[in-house]
């Protein structure tokens, strides 16, 4: 079920009154769990079994790790959890990728290998809930949290529908305690929830989807388009993926608030970052902090010398890239970010000795960061090596388009709107509309945005969220 579909609102309008009417914590959680499985099963009910399997395994292993006194046994149980979770992920997401690459290497060495190519359907949101359950067992192993003995609470923690398919990747220590109490949304939460849903929907539908149309058509057949048109597609993809994912996160947080649950912020105006390190503290925060806590730190972080820090950064970013999808493009994307971070660290060591920074340099840093990030999106969006090559060739061998000014205008329009909204959020917070003094003005603005979005949604096809494929 897509957040940007009428069906979702139909679903929400049925479940919310029932949820509010239910008297006890137990009944509310059981009801939400059923709704979450229904939400997930709406795409393909078969994947519900996979979700349930992952949940049962981690629930049992978490309990066993906690109750076990032997370090060796605890280690083996953790390994079992990692093996099963990552195993499921590998089979469903990376199996064909590894087989294809292995075949290519074998072909180059003149070994003819006819491996079976499994036609596996990627279960939606598998990377998100796998990471979520993994963090649970790792945290228990590290004695940061205690396991829950309530299976319903745990199953709801894994499958909570607002964040099930595209995050934020919540930690057990923040979400489980909320689910272990009776969910009772306050009036403020409901107000904030509705506001976040409307703002998120506007962002996703009116900015993300509409920019995505340019991107999809142009990337579909690059040979048909000229230089400025391809540059427009790259910049618009940078906008699309941000508006799409941050819009999703807004709706997820808003929906959760309507159910009395607080989810973490996943974005904090990432394109207002002065450097790449700050960008990663503001972009897909739940993933970057997950990778930091469960990969970068265990590798040694920055505690084992400079060159090891650089290596750790690179490993983290490469695996972060691969987390997005089974393709070399994502590895290149992650690798480029790794290079940026290493270069920034090097520069920062030199830069920290100097103090003053002019406003112009600061502004230049914003632009440079945006440019560098946008450049990497090119690898993220390109379907294969040939497409990337064609993009470079088209940009280098500049061809003038008869629609140069039209595309310039389109790019500027999107940039102005995205950065204006971001600036307001940066200054006043994600539910900035609610900071206005007059309730009538708030209602006027929100209903205006909602009406435009609904009308557009009605006449245009709903596009799935970009991050659903991960």
């Amino acid at each position: 079920m897509l957040f940007n579909s009428f069906v979702f609102f139909f679903f929400l309008s049925i479940i919310l009154p029932i949820f509010y009417a239910l008297p006890s914590k137990k009944s509310k959680n059981i009801f939400l769990l059923i709704c979450s499985y229904f939400f997930y099963g709406y795409w393909d009910w078969r994947f519900c079994f996979l979700l349930l399997t992952s949940t049962i395994i981690d629930f049992i292993i978490g309990e066993k790790i906690f109750s076990s006194s032997s370090d060796n046994k605890r280690k083996w149980l953790l390994r079992l959890s990692l093996f099963t979770n990552l195993g499921i992920l590998c089979v469903f997401k990376y199996f064909n990728f590894f087989i294809e690459n292995f075949k290519t290497i074998a072909d180059n060495l003149n070994f003819k290998l006819d491996f079976i190519h499994l036609n596996i359907l990627l279960p939606i949101g598998i990377s998100f809930y796998t990471f979520q359950t993994l963090s649970y067992t790792i945290d228990i192993y590290n004695k940061k949290i205690k396991p829950t003995n309530n299976f319903v609470d745990f199953a709801l923690f894994v499958s909570f529908f607002p964040q099930l398919v595209a995050g934020p990747i919540e930690r057990a220590k923040t979400l489980l305690p909320q689910l272990s109490k009776k969910l009772n949304p306050s009036f403020t939460q409901i107000k904030q929830g509705i506001t976040l849903i409307i703002l998120g929907l506007f962002r996703k539908v009116m900015i993300g989807d509409t920019a995505g149309r340019y991107v999809d058509h142009i990337f579909n057949d690059l040979s048909l388009y000229k230089s400025i048109e391809i540059i427009a597609a790259i910049i618009l993809f940078s906008i699309q993926i941000y508006a799409d994912f941050s819009g999703y996160s807004h709706i997820a947080r808003g929906t959760a608030k309507l159910l009395g649950v607080e989810l973490m912020k996943n974005f904090e105006q990432p394109y207002f970052s002065q450097n790449i390190a700050k960008f990663w503290r503001r972009w897909h925060i739940s993933l970057s902090t997950w990778l930091r806590d469960y990969l970068y730190f265990p590798l040694g972080g920055n505690r084992k010398g400079l060159s090891r820090t650089y290596l750790n950064l690179m490993i983290t970013m490469l695996l972060g890239g691969l987390w997005h999808g089974a393709s070399w493009n994502f590895v290149i994307w992650g690798g480029l970010h790794g290079v940026y971070l290493i270069l920034y660290k090097m520069y920062h060591r030199f830069q920290s000795k100097k103090n003053s920074k002019s406003k112009l340099i600061n502004f230049g840093n914003y632009i440079l960061t945006f440019f560098l990030v946008t450049f990497t999106w090119l690898f993220f969006r390109s379907e294969n090596y040939e497409s990337t090559e064609m993009i470079f060739s088209k940009i280098i061998n500049w061809e003038t388009s008869e629609y140069f000014y039209l595309f310039l205008r389109v790019i500027c329009s999107y940039l102005v709107v995205v950065f204006s909204i971001d600036y307001i959020e940066y200054k006043y917070g994600h539910t900035s509309v609610l900071k206005l003094k007059s309730n009538l003005v708030i209602i006027g603005i929100l209903s205006g945005l909602f009406l435009v979005t609904l009308m557009y949604m009605f006449q245009a096809d709903s596009l799935p969220f970009v991050y659903f494929q991960f």
Binding site: M1, S5, F6, V7, F10, Y42, M206, T210, A211, R213, Y214, D216, H217, I218, N220, D221, L224, E402, Y403, L406, R409, V410, C412, S413, Y414, V417, S438, L440, V441, I442, I443, G444, I445, S447, G448, L449, L451, V452, M455, Y456, F458, Q459, D461
Partner: protein, 341 residues
Amino acid sequence: MRFVKKFLILLFSFLGTLFFCELFISSAKIAELSFAEYYDDIGKGLLKSREFVNFNEGFSILSTNEYRFVGDVVSKSKPKNTIRVALIGDSFVQGAQMFERHTLSRIMEDNLRLKSPNKVVEVLNFGRAGFNVGHMYAYQKLLIEDFEPDYFIYFLSKEDLVSDYSFPPLLPRTDIINDSLSISINVETSELNKYQNTKFLTQNFTFFNILNACRYKVNQGETGGILFGKFYSKPQIKIIESEHVFEFDPITSKIFENLSKNTIIINSNASILPIKVEEKCVENGLLYWDMTYCFDELQKSGIIFNEWKATNKLGHWNQYCHQKLGIEIANKLNHLLDESD
């Protein structure tokens, strides 16, 4: 008084938001303003010298010239030593789903110029969305003939051969009056009034065009599916396969009899036109070019002529089809020009 003040605050904040959305929607070309205008001489036509962006199954940017058809600026009277070809058809010919530089007319022109550098060839695109043969012929008489084309190429599918004027309204039409063809503009007062009343809004606010698109979806019976997704099962329409024998409608038959000898009829669909069409062409000295082999060849090379991969939809001809047809028709035309030399 307090109520009025409150109401005004609410109204202004609501309208203010709509206004800002409108600015964004129109400048980012999310939705277009209406590009139609009613003219006394040709009925509802395209706006003069406008560039318009459209997304449907494809992504299209087309621009009109001052004479209200798609293409570059041309002189009304044909310059000396110039061969003019007029393409007459519906949205397929107009190139409704692609950039102007990829349309059939542009590909034909480029190829004709390439193959005969000593000739000045102009291919004019008179394709208009929603046209059938009755509209096309009227359009030819009211506008196209002013440009003195050497060849008229009609692109027709079986459906276009029926001169049905029930929709869209305000277009030019051909009728039979006293056994001869009569050209007029389909002015139904109610339709014209409806158009005039909404013209200001649709030509200045994209918002109303989005509303219009919603209305269209409702009329198409898509509301249930949009609102309830998998929860809604669309009523099954019983398809009755009929062994319908093609018969010319009287207006179409008369139009074929009145077409000038420099007219070429081409089928604009993958399926061949009824044999009676070809017979009628022969009978009236018109050229008939069956282009179905182009569609077949595309299909054999793995390209479905109306498939749009970016949106996963089937619809108008895609770029490959325009390319293929453009080259093939240009070759045939080039042959014809050589013969006439």
